[in-house]
Symmetry: C2
Subunit: 326 residues, 2 copies
């Protein structure tokens, strides 16, 4: 099959690779759409020691099952494979499973390829009227759905459901959509990049500002650098919540003194549970997460250029989805 | 009346000051016992801009009401005076009231004095068989009771009720006592100071280690410096909780990357609600918080020496309580 292979720092080549083998309990999915994630960019720049070259990236994917009892089923892929037996898994927090695997991290190849093999439990059917390109958004939407759920569960019942989301990439936009679906009415998205800003306001209908100028009971940090954490810890209302998704910088930024004196909680959030993922697909199907019209598609064969364009900030839509040749 | 007056950095003088005036809704309390808190030490060293000299410190106090309808009632003092009308107060989080006052911070004088005047709501009667010296522990015990309550409420139900408490001062010891009263059975206290260590183990019956060598679902940081936060964020189990009480250093130490990938929550905690305070007094009275035999008493007149001894690390018990001459 063809795949977009990471061959070293900032080097991606579209070439032939071996077809994946299918084992008991797994199904083979013909990939129709696979989105580029910030973590793919991170690895592309050589900043992720867990992802040595050569490797196929891509973990936001949708396609059609080929073969077996579910042959022909249109599915979106939950890329996280937990052990299902440890205390985290049996406690319903499979995202914290110490044995968790994810496609695009060895030993599992990623979805920038013609095929991916997955446990059947990880394949979530999508309605006929949902395009597979939109269906490939389930993964990043589930990340933000999960963060929004944890944040709102932690928010004290006496506080207003009002939020500021830092970062207008896919995860930030998805956090805003998830919060709205969960009943938040007043959400401000902070995005300094002017091209991205107009897109979010004009195409997505979001309230967007270039910099945070207001306090709120809830901040979601979808960037995760010292500067965004400094902003969040300065502006979160006393007794409020910072939900932290971004992995931009490993440390720094939090005003711990203020967080202690004002009882602000910082919640680390990572991926999603299988329930979050299915709830997200349900919300997508019912239109609760909006039209999802903020995708630019490109052929998988042109993936290398897509990565270059994202890196250079030449892309206005929050998401580029790559399409293998069918 | 006599009071121990802070006259400037590391200078305390026991001298005459004016008696306080009593207003509507307030009562005058003859102080029998007032503990020295870490925050008093902080101000004594000139590190608290909110507490300029001359000022009377002390906010952990118990005594007997003089005059009015409650004349003769033995009480412990909740030193935090909220507005009772803002959203934080009406939402049951009076500790987050933006108008909150506390004795020993202007405009309210502290309790290292013969008398303090307080709103009657802040005076909690104590049983006849509880000494007023022990009753003066209610304030620091309530701080830790509050932190333990928030931490256990936030801890996922699938996780073990097992904790490590960093710091074996009053707040750390009180956190261990509160956690045990709330059903935690396995608690390890971390205290590097050898004299304090033996006291905690031999007199208080705590499990004490000089340095944290184990992970746990729950860490309570009763020190609040970069080093203790680094320890907590490295050793808290995935999906676990760090409850942060200490105010040692304003920033630094947290491994945000690990906290994000492993979904660890950091909860800032500050003082207590009126309900926490009353629950704490109830737990003290019923013996749930142990014998409270870890106090050294000294005459208020010798307060300056007590501060010097605490600063020099010459005090083994976690708490020194000063007693005005009666």
């Amino acid at each position: 099959m063809k795949a977009l292979v990471y061959e070293g720092v900032q080097s991606l080549i579209y070439r032939d690779v071996a077809d994946p083998d299918t084992h008991e309990g797994e199904a083979k999915v013909r990939i129709h759409a696979a989105g580029i994630c910030g973590s793919d960019m991170h690895a592309y720049l050589g900043h992720d020691a867990r992802r040595p070259a050569p490797l196929v990236f891509g973990h936001e994917a949708a396609g059609v099952i080929e073969g077996g009892p579910m042959d022909g089923t249109r599915v979106t892929i939950n890329p996280l494979v937990p052990c299902n037996t440890c205390p985290a898994c049996t406690g319903g927090r499979q995202n914290l499973c110490p044995e968790r695997q994810i496609i695009s991290l060895p030993p599992r190849a990623g979805a920038f390829a013609d095929y991916v093999v997955m446990p059947v439990d990880n394949l979530i059917p999508v309605p006929d009227d949902m395009s597979l390109v939109k269906a490939s958004l389930a993964e990043p939407l589930a990340v933000s759905w999960h963060a929004a759920r944890l944040a709102l569960e932690a928010l004290h019942p006496s506080m207003e459901r009002r939020a500021v989301v830092l970062g207008g990439g896919t995860i930030g936009l998805a956090a805003s959509l998830a919060l709205r679906a969960m009943g938040c009415e007043d959400i401000t998205l902070i995005e300094p990049h002017p091209v991205r800003q107009s897109f979010l306001a004009d195409v997505c209908g979001e309230t967007v500002l270039p910099a945070a100028d207001r306090s709120a009971p809830l901040f979601i940090d979808a960037v995760g650098i010292a500067q965004t954490r400094a902003t969040a810890s300065a502006l979160t209302d006393p007794g409020g919540i910072i939900a932290h998704i971004g992995l931009g910088q490993d440390a720094g930024g939090l005003d711990i003194r203020r967080m202690t004196l004002q009882e602000i909680s910082f919640i680390g959030t990572y991926t999603y549970t299988p329930t979050d993922f299915r709830e997200t697909v349900k919300a997508m199907a019912s239109g609760q997460l909006g039209s999802l019209d903020w995708i630019e598609t490109r052929p998988l064969a042109d993936g290398a250029t897509a990565f270059e364009d994202v890196l250079a900030g030449r892309v206005a839509p929050p998401k580029i989805v790559l399409e293998p040749a069918l």
